[in-house]
Symmetry: D3
Amino acid sequence: MTAPDRGGDRGSLLVVSAHAGDFVWRAGGAIALAAERGDEVTVVCLSYGERGESARAWREGRKLEEIKELRRAEAEAAAAALGATTVFLDAGDYPLLESRELVDRLVRIYREVTPTTVLTHTLVDPYNGDHPAAARMALQARVLAQAIGYEAPGEPLGAPPVFCFEPHQPEMSGFTPNVLLDVTPVFERKREAMRCLPAQQHMWDYYTDLAKRRGVQLKRNAGPNLGLAHATMGEAYMRLYPQVTAELS
Amino acid sequence: MTAPDRGGDRGSLLVVSAHAGDFVWRAGGAIALAAERGDEVTVVCLSYGERGESARAWREGRKLEEIKELRRAEAEAAAAALGATTVFLDAGDYPLLESRELVDRLVRIYREVTPTTVLTHTLVDPYNGDHPAAARMALQARVLAQAIGYEAPGEPLGAPPVFCFEPHQPEMSGFTPNVLLDVTPVFERKREAMRCLPAQQHMWDYYTDLAKRRGVQLKRNAGPNLGLAHATMGEAYMRLYPQVTAELS
Amino acid sequence: MTAPDRGGDRGSLLVVSAHAGDFVWRAGGAIALAAERGDEVTVVCLSYGERGESARAWREGRKLEEIKELRRAEAEAAAAALGATTVFLDAGDYPLLESRELVDRLVRIYREVTPTTVLTHTLVDPYNGDHPAAARMALQARVLAQAIGYEAPGEPLGAPPVFCFEPHQPEMSGFTPNVLLDVTPVFERKREAMRCLPAQQHMWDYYTDLAKRRGVQLKRNAGPNLGLAHATMGEAYMRLYPQVTAELS
Amino acid sequence: MTAPDRGGDRGSLLVVSAHAGDFVWRAGGAIALAAERGDEVTVVCLSYGERGESARAWREGRKLEEIKELRRAEAEAAAAALGATTVFLDAGDYPLLESRELVDRLVRIYREVTPTTVLTHTLVDPYNGDHPAAARMALQARVLAQAIGYEAPGEPLGAPPVFCFEPHQPEMSGFTPNVLLDVTPVFERKREAMRCLPAQQHMWDYYTDLAKRRGVQLKRNAGPNLGLAHATMGEAYMRLYPQVTAELS
Amino acid sequence: MTAPDRGGDRGSLLVVSAHAGDFVWRAGGAIALAAERGDEVTVVCLSYGERGESARAWREGRKLEEIKELRRAEAEAAAAALGATTVFLDAGDYPLLESRELVDRLVRIYREVTPTTVLTHTLVDPYNGDHPAAARMALQARVLAQAIGYEAPGEPLGAPPVFCFEPHQPEMSGFTPNVLLDVTPVFERKREAMRCLPAQQHMWDYYTDLAKRRGVQLKRNAGPNLGLAHATMGEAYMRLYPQVTAELS
Amino acid sequence: MTAPDRGGDRGSLLVVSAHAGDFVWRAGGAIALAAERGDEVTVVCLSYGERGESARAWREGRKLEEIKELRRAEAEAAAAALGATTVFLDAGDYPLLESRELVDRLVRIYREVTPTTVLTHTLVDPYNGDHPAAARMALQARVLAQAIGYEAPGEPLGAPPVFCFEPHQPEMSGFTPNVLLDVTPVFERKREAMRCLPAQQHMWDYYTDLAKRRGVQLKRNAGPNLGLAHATMGEAYMRLYPQVTAELS
């Protein structure tokens, strides 16, 4: 498996997610891995998921602002468990509306954070329009941040690789998992982060099962030679741009 | 850029090509890189390309056996320049016919060479039926070699990653270059290998131009941060199976 | 052929169409079938098709408001012939502009009508931008209506299946007809509805021919065993979400 | 959910699988559902999976014929548990070779069994060449059996719908699950059938987890209205030909 | 519309069809157009369609040889009506088996006929395996005929454009009609040719309706400016290789 | 190669490009060819590319308005060299924002110019969001301009063919070059136009190499018969709508 030598430079991982909880379920392992090896991790939550991802709170009769506060606290706790910093843009959800202003805020974050890797949603998700909206903005901002003529503080960005995390119904979302990430060493931390979201307790098992399933596929794609543990846990990603490499492996 | 640490283990690169010259034009850089870092490289030429890729020799009035001898000598010289070993199966070209026997020979080579990486043609090429035929056999043999119940000497194979090299008309062949390999450090060796194929002198420039073009794209996908030289030379590949990794980068 | 037993419950069919005439040509059979078996059918016309689908009226020198009135009357007559209720949102056509407000109106209709089945345009149509715009809004509203946190009267929606009706140039619009509906029993009613649109008389034959053609394909996909009549009439649809079923047939 | 009224006629389900175990893991629920409602179910195993799917037996040092006998006994027990009849063609695996003769045997089975529904593998599976080979033969034989001029006993076949069952790595195999089958009522029988394959005990959990996952998706695509139980178990299928129906639902 | 000036050179149209009748229904207009402008037209029928396309003759109790004779006579009459020459290879149908020998015969025909344009079936047709088999052989032979080293009389072929004619269920066969041919001037000749196939009388209307439908689309893609007659008749084709041109139009 | 006879009518080529320089690099050959044969050529530059395509000017410390003036002057000089007229809409770049007003301006241009051929960007370009935005507006305006009911001076438009020019990374942008244009006769003029853009001198070689590469492919798709010169220069295009033709060639 590839494990590039970055020569002492500290990486910077930027995660752009539509709702407050997405990064935990879908990318908790990648975040914990990055944090553990010393990378800076910034999670941008475009909304709190207050309308579309908080069914239980609504059924309990809570108010909008209360729900937003609740989701924010949960997300901060989960991010802390994973070793990440959070930024909340409170742009509203269901629908999350694309706007020139929101994209501009993302450009400024890119210029400040100078990510070496970017994670976001897939560009297709027929079950949740906020996810592709977030992805489109994340990708658009990444390109704008590269232009010297774009007015925002900081230097023009390089071209950090982008990985989409797994949507709920992958085959319906054109999700081809062309990268399988071994998250076994940090899975306990991901579990801890998931436990920070008690309202979605049924998801704990669901995403543990999914990690097992992706782990089995990871082993199948790596072969016996790698000596992977029986209980390999995986996360699936879709790389959007060509991989740039000095070795085919 | 990724440059995995393999912990001292020597890699093994297996290249399965339809005709004698394919590996030089399409994968010369990858082969030279592997050889330079100490990997074993085995190039299997299923045919000599005696009928379909030797137009000049035919126009000069040469005979079939003579042409095969000529192509073999050229390929051996080019492989030597790149640091690779050649195996010629002399299965005939135009058409290269798929057969149970030929696949079995490939299985035996897989079991013997135990490749850590495999290179072959694309599965689609409307300009040359031999290329997909070679790819289908290379892929089928790879799967068969994994089965303990397949009768052939050696241990069951792991699941080495497979990369397709660039076809002549990539967009017509469903070729999505999802891996861009930096071959700048070994491009002089590739040039040397190309010079071993004097009958196709017009290809020398063509593939040097292509390497420049893929190099420009490589830089565009890597960003300015990488400090890549102006004259980056690249080779494009299409990875067929998910990448298994311990880090997203 | 499948003919589910809904246990006495009355279904509710919602049709979201860009222009006033679309539902007649493209889904007249499905509407009549639903009405005949006692389902409630609601047709939402986002515009009257006053600019883009009323060439003859413009050539006759009519004014905009007059044309809208004309198209509305025709659509009402056709809907009555099919057994459907109409809702006109008068959002303008050529172009039909997507907006937050229009989507919100659709969400409210979903919540009120609580459809068990939804019909709309395809998401691709290079010949008419209004069609995909209507489809995008219909699909977005369906997802929003499912969220308990979305502020609109009524209960959160379930997940009714969505079927796209046939565009004018199906192969250019990514239209894969994965459902062929037998409309033979109600084709006379569809013909009657078409006759309510006298300005497009050339379409009567066109869509009768199309129904024959889809009928031939329907028989071909059903096999001789079904004992389908020689003159089977069909309508083609593309199901967007997985079919949920208790039996494979 | 659709549950067609077949008017008293007994259905006939034909399952064409490459290896002896495939039908249990991938279609056990569909088979048990069909058997429970009184359909005849015939499972054709083209091979025993003796080379490619019997790793444990090989590691235990068993001989080829012994392994075939073992796999046959297991498959028969599992089929009995599900309510199906088995036919073994012993055509060899790894590779399963396509042949005119094997296709002819399938044509004869089609003509004899006159299936109302057909299940087989996907046409793409980069991890196992036998699966697509089985699918190609199953599909080719279905078309040949329809021709009155094809010399084989029995009447020309109709056009039974074909469903592909889920491959191991669905996204890599172009598997779009456009049908989700509720197998909750018979899942205990499927579990029983799985227990007839003790050598692959790790698969019991794997396929139970998968059924849960597909069950969650099934509920998501059906909506709350259906009143589906919390523990819905699902199997995913890909319908290859257009659905012929008298109602959109 | 394009109407290239070939500078006095006579064109050569080669049609490779699986069964005896295919060329009439699917390409009758293109053949008649070519013949009328003085091109040589050669129709190769790989089989007579004796098993798969002669249901009526079988139901009348005719014998195999008799049916072949019948189909041959009909095809010859139809070809004469269109102005084409026929070559019958009698390779058998249902299934039409690909073979090295059959491909070689096609190579020799290519070398002799030196086509400037080639027509054949689509590479996908889930309703009829013979059609893709014919297309694969036609395409393979075209590439082989280009190689100077391929042993067959005649000069190496150029790279004539290839057009697939319309399959029965275009959307199911990946048929994207990227070329719409105006066959209005010769439609009467096509009708005459169709009348040479009396056993398939229901097809006369079917293909006349289809020509009208493709004609409507042709007008829609050409715009009012072309002054096309109301009753434009069209045939749809799919060009497989890039169009080479001196003008974008 | 096709070279239609337009019967004396003068054609009208409309090029819609996102930034001031795009038309030179990507379509200079097509423009010069059209101009040379007497067609009117109108190039619409939606923006000057002042932010995203003027890195050197920014690095030299120039101001926004100055850069716009500079780019405009360059574009005008290049257009003059090619024989085209320019229209600058100054809509801003990075991002180029889609708007109802901008589309309306394009509709009016369509109605005035009445193009017989349209060139624009691809609908996908993950490296530059302005390109697809320009393409979407160009295509939307083309459809609107066809409607008699759309309020704008002039007659309803026909349906001119649309060709997308080649993006920077074609395989990543879904660019299938289905048309290869021979620009050999005018390549010197294209070179001259490129020299009007001195800030991007490294592009001169890049696009000359690309023209050689597309020229090689052009020859490969035309065959030896055409007698194309060794140094054929090509431009690749993707035709979006079916070609309407009176001859298959």
